[in-house]
Amino acid sequence: MSDPGPSPSPEQSAEAGTLAARLALKQRAGGIVVPVVTVLFAFLMSGIIIAATQHSVRTALVVFKEIFQGAGLNWVFHPTTSLLDISAYNLSQTLLQTTPLILTGLAVAFAFRCGMFNIGGNGQYLVGLIVANWLGVDLAGLNPFLHILLCISAGTLAASAYAGIAGILKATVGAHEVISTIMLNWIAYWTASWLIGAGGPLQVSNNPTNPVSNQVSSGARLPDFWGVQGFQGLHVGLFVALAAVVVFWALLNRTTLGYEVRAVGFNPDAAAYGGISVKKNYFRAMAISGAFAGLAGTLDMLGGAQNYQIGQLDIPFIQVGFIGIAVALLGRNTAIGTLLGAVLFGALSYGSFHGLGSSAVIDPTLANNLTYIIQGLIVLFIGADVLILYVWNSRKKLRRPPGKTARRAEAAAS
């Protein structure tokens, strides 16, 4: 899963560097096997937990079946485009939830590649969401194509600028981006709550007691290509997200900007010695990262994931920015890995909530809590991939005579 490139990648030039560097090398050496094993291990562990709490191994298997069917993945056994088929409908909803996760995953991954941890995906997503709603409502009557384009670009730019604040703070006064992005999350959270809350400037105009925003005007809505328009169908934003995956890859691996970002991410001192401005790249990487997350917000708003509006009560449930972290980690911060990670988490998120919420396999009063536990366990074990890597590597060391290991790791990395 390493990035092939004509120029020597900056990562390879500093193999013997820091712990993080050696870890990164090992992660790449693990290739695709480790994420796959991690996911299987995570499911196995959560299966054991379910079997233990529900006192039945069968229940654990049924739970996984319900998650699988809830996500609509059984669609592959009898593919159809008809949404009267429940698996087709569920698959469309899974892909709908995957769309923003691809983008928030890319957002986190991009910052990671510059050595920064962007926890502010949620706040940047909210900025995109709110700006898209504001322009989507206020500029009603504009040419639909222009209107959509304007909403998307304005929301994306606003979120980019918002994340850029954290980048500037890090570059100028050295404020750690983890702290500043978390603080920016809360600022976005409460600002959005105020904007759409009772008496707020963006609150719905026909009902002063309902703390929700107006719905974006019909001209600014993204067309659904799979599903009934207006009934939360799958909208064309999915293709925008897929295009963003290509942009991410090209930006990082085929441009000078990407080279500099990766160099700074790998070793800022070495990059500075090589004539790369570390400060400038901190800002640039953060702004680009924010743009991905903001784009996710604009697509969700214009695509009708929340019925083209947002309510005050919806805000606490927005988690895509945080799930994006897990997506990026699982995807090894690469373009294709992030895409696959987003599909997994989209299916897991929609499949578990919907599958377990509607099947009564487990007590309906416990459905949401148990779903959170399963998701949490999977995230936890995905985070524990370093452990699995360690076991994987030490197993090989036991089997093979020393000396060969290093060479093999090197070979696998290229």
Binding site: V36, I86, N90, P208, A305, L313, H354, T365, N368
Partner: protein
């Protein structure tokens, strides 16, 4: 060599998964084959494990299942983007009646009720007129101002005894079902003890206990409130706990919350289980009144008061019961909304 082993690992895993799915896929769910009336209940974002609002509706559904032999589909939502898929699921399951567990599901219900005119719909806490007067929809409404009034009487008496005639409210969102409780509470408190002041704050949340706990602290320490009435679901439990901690009193909402904290005066009940059960029973017997509201109040035991603390003197309970009699007789009409935009009269 190495790459072959990868293929083996992935292959075995895929095979195991395929076998598991195939084995389970053959075992069909038996519920779908059962005859009889089919009713679905879709929860709001709080799920069925809240303090009572959704949970009691599930109880009503389960009672309909055991007493009437109705096939029940409880469907849990965890965010507002679940509403659409959950309605789709209920339609797919063949539900003849789909009940929305609250105001928040109004827009989605309206869309589906318009799309599927042959399916019956009902919604807790939202009058038909507010949704758009659909013919295949019933509103399940509760005169919660009546229950709010009764607990307001006890709150005012307690505050007077404690030396400051101030009582507080920790509200969730400023929406009509929340405000009707508060309006009744405020109205009757001022009636029972002249000069009682009611302070109200909203948390904007029905989930996060810390937010309501902060409101209770603010009202008690900053504004000398002696009793806190929570109208914020799970969030409000934080207010009840905080009030107990500060040696003041709390009043529960919707369900009987006597055991949530040490110092609970009483609870204002909204018997959502009664509403759901009656709605299903009516529809199953062919007595569905489309386009109308079912009203649950003190008179038909749809709202009421929960367990009362033993620290409350008999004379207060007597006073409260006199208010109850007056309301049932129609002599006392507590307002259903607070002053401001959206409230019809000067309440």
């Amino acid at each position: 060599m190495r790459s072959k082993r990868w293929i083996l690992v992935v292959g075995v895993a895929a095979l195991a998964a395929a076998i598991a799915v195939a084995a389970l896929g053959s075992a069909k769910a038996p519920a779908a084959q059962k005859a009889g009336y089919k009713a679905a209940l879709v929860s709001d974002v709080a799920g069925f494990n809240d303090n009572g609002f959704n949970k009691n509706q599930l109880k009503g559904l389960n009672r309909a299942k055991s007493k009437l032999g109705v096939t029940a589909f409880p469907i849990v939502s965890h965010s507002s983007s679940d509403y659409q898929p959950n309605y789709n699921q209920a339609v797919h399951d063949g539900s003849q009646l789909i009940i929305a567990a609250g105001f928040l599901l109004g827009d989605t219900m309206k869309q589906y009720a318009t799309q599927y005119p042959n399916i019956k719909f009902a919604i807790t806490d939202d009058p038909v007129a507010a949704v758009g007067g659909l013919k295949n929809e019933e509103g399940i409404t509760y005169a919660t101002q009546e229950g709010g009034c009764l607990v307001g009487v006890l709150a005012a008496k307690m505050a007077q005894k404690m030396g400051h005639k101030v009582i507080g409210v920790a509200g969730g969102l400023k929406i009509p079902p929340v405000d009707s409780y508060i309006a009744g509470y405020k109205y009757c408190a001022a009636k029972a003890v002249k000069g009682t002041k009611t302070v109200v704050q909203y948390s904007g949340d029905f989930e996060d206990q810390t937010k309501c706990s902060a409101i209770a602290q603010n009202e008690i320490q900053g504004q000398k409130a002696q009793v806190i009435f929570q109208v914020a679901g799970l969030c409000g439990d934080g207010a009840l706990k905080e009030a107990s901690k500060l040696h003041k009193w709390g009043i529960g909402v919707d369900a009987d919350e006597f055991s949530v904290a040490n110092r609970i005066l009483t609870s204002a009940l909204k018997k959502t289980d009664v509403g759901v059960y009656d709605t299903i029973a009516g529809a199953a017997k062919g007595k569905f009144k489309g386009g109308q509201d079912l009203l649950f109040n003190l008179k038909n035991n749809g709202v009421g008061v929960g367990k009362i603390s033993h620290k409350v003197p008999k004379s207060w309970i007597k006073l409260m019961n006199s208010y109850k009699t007056q309301i049932i007789k129609g002599k006392l009409k507590p307002p259903a909304c607070l002053k401001g935009k959206g409230c019809p009269k000067g309440a």
